[in-house]
């Protein structure tokens, strides 16, 4: 029996598992490693210090805009659709909906705080891209918050909607790669450019950048809403595809 909310919180953190909690840290280390590699590669090939610094800032921006959001989305998809004792839990007085919402809130909170910390460190160490220094503090937050929450919302909603975490993670992965592979298609379409997830990484912020971020954020909130609604359908939580 869990007697206090702190015990409950500890229990849920345990359920989240080390890999879900560690994944953002591992991803940050990978991107940092690649950024350092890019920095030294640029210097080694005769690039100026400014050019090498610019390449490293792009790596850090990529971490904030596409690396951590994908990791968070995958973790959310796995978490929301994986509970081996869901059948038992559905018989408890404590609703499964509340438990799953708490877990989603925890993973969202953890990845948001971690991404905020990374953003602060990037800015403090002088690796915030020069082109973004005209943005207001709120815009600097929306920059990474919009794709982060979009991936979390999409991962959770798709996992419940399709009742398959592997389908959800596959779609997230393909959406992620599609942003690069079909970039021109996205940017040339007036509709698709408003939902292009990695717009900040383009050289020179386009006039619709803020609208893009706000639309993505709105979609993310709508996806959270869909997730919460789906969690209320107990029968839909049983018998996921294996």
């Amino acid at each position: 029996m869990l007697h206090s909310s702190s015990q409950r919180l500890r229990h849920e953190l345990h359920i989240l598992g080390a890999i879900n909690l560690a994944l953002p840290v591992i991803v940050a280390a990978i991107y940092l490693g690649f950024s350092i590699l890019v920095y030294y590669s640029a210097r080694h090939n005769g690039g100026t210090l400014d050019y090498a610094h610019y390449q490293a800032t792009r790596g850090m921006l990529a971490l904030l805009e596409n690396g951590l959001p994908l990791a968070a989305g995958l973790a959310a998809a796995i978490l929301i659709s994986h509970d081996p004792v869901v059948e038992s839990h559905l018989t408890f007085s404590q609703s499964y909906h509340a438990t799953a919402t708490l877990r989603l809130a925890l993973i969202t909170l953890w990845t948001t705080l971690f991404t905020a910390l990374v953003a602060l460190l990037v800015a403090a160490t002088g690796f915030w891209p020069t082109a973004l220094q005209t943005l207001s503090p709120i815009e600097n937050i929306v920059l990474w918050l919009a794709p982060l929450w979009w991936f979390i919302g999409a991962g959770a909603a798709l996992a419940l909607l399709l009742r398959s975490r592997v389908a959800s993670t596959a779609i997230l992965g393909m959406v992620w790669v599609a942003q690069f592979l079909f970039k021109l298609l996205f940017l040339q379409s007036e509709i698709l450019q408003r939902v292009y997830l990695f717009l900040t990484e383009e050289d020179g912020l386009p006039s619709y950048w803020l609208a893009n971020r706000l639309i993505i954020l709105a979609i993310a909130l709508a996806l959270f809403g869909v997730t919460l609604l789906l969690l209320r359908r107990d029968e839909a939580l049983l018998g996921p595809e294996s």
Binding site: I19, N20, L23, I26, V27, I30, F34, L37, V38, S41, Q55, L70, A71, L74, A75, I78, P84, L162, R163, S164, R165, V166, A167, T169, A170, I171, G173, M174, W176, V177, A178, F180, L181, F182, L185, L238, G239, P240, E241, S242
Partner: protein, 281 residues
């Protein structure tokens, strides 16, 4: 909407004498291949993922047909083959990432371990069966594109080279990534593998090899198979996606050999690992 499968142990196990390991292995391989094929082919998620992807890609198919570099149905089919090979094996690799871990999650692995079905036969059967099933929806999407190309150019002779192009690119790519999806998830958390796999796909296929960090893109280990396609079919410059690297039949053979000879040791290494694990349990 839950998908239920009725396991037929007699097909997989069909007890052959343990003293004839080759026959036992072949039976396990064939039984596992058939079972895994149908199990994967019946998954809703497989079809949903590729249907969504197909809707997105085919909606913008006009841009391929109106490309100024493309002047024939044959060339259009080569471009279509490289586009499919650059994107669809990614989904295949991600969808394959839970095939091995599923047996552990459902405790089927323990049950099968006590049968006469050899672990190597089961593993190879799982790999090939699930991979072939994953190729089915990809092939159907590809076929729709080839039909559109044939209709646009009024050229029915395009089907044969299009089939060859599909085998040279997507089939090789899917065989390559599926081997690692099966092998890596025997030792790695699937979540971590999936993230690393998406990152690898971007790094190894989409990064420009001429600038920035070193990448496998542009080497014979590029899994989208454009070296194989360009080497065997010699399309004009600009038709096959990539960064303009030259190819030849010899380079095509090298690329094919390199990709497949990486896939085989990956599966075998997984088998060695599983044997070691079983011996130390």
């Amino acid at each position: 909407m839950a998908v239920r499968f009725t396991i037929q142990p007699t097909r997989l196990v069909s007890s052959s004498p343990a003293s004839v390991p080759l026959i036992s292995g072949l039976r396990a391989f064939w039984g596992s291949l058939r079972y895994e094929f149908w199990m994967q082919a019946r998954r809703y998620s497989l079809w949903i993922v590729f249907a969504l992807l197909a809707a997105f890609v085919l909606r913008n198919f006009d841009s391929l047909l109106s490309d100024p570099f493309i002047t024939s149905a044959r060339q259009a089919s080569f471009r279509w083959a490289t586009l499919v090979a650059e994107f669809f094996p990614l989904g295949a690799g991600l969808l394959m990432a839970d095939r091995f871990t599923r047996d552990r999650a459902t405790h089927m692995a323990e049950l099968l371990d006590v049968t006469a079905a050899t672990p190597l036969g089961r593993l190879l059967g799982k790999y090939l069966g699930a991979t072939l099933a994953t190729l089915v929806p990809i092939f159907l999407v590809y076929l729709v594109g080839v039909v559109l190309i044939a209709a646009h150019w009024a050229d029915l002779s395009v089907f044969l080279p299009a089939l060859g192009a599909f085998a040279a690119t997507t089939v090789v790519g899917v065989l390559f990534v599926s081997a690692f999806s099966i092998a890596c998830t025997t030792v790695m958390w699937p979540l971590l593998y999936q993230f690393l796999f998406v990152g690898y796909w971007f790094w190894g296929n989409l990064l420009n090899p001429k600038v920035g960090i070193p990448t496998l893109n542009g080497t014979i280990l590029t899994p989208d198979g454009h070296f194989v396609l360009a080497g065997f079919f010699s399309p004009p410059p600009g038709v096959v996606l990539g960064y303009g690297q030259a190819s030849s039949p010899l380079i095509a053979l090298e690329s094919l050999g390199a990709l497949l000879s990486c896939a085989a040791p990956a599966v075998l290494a997984a088998w060695v690992w599983l044997r070691w694990q079983a011996a130390h349990q």
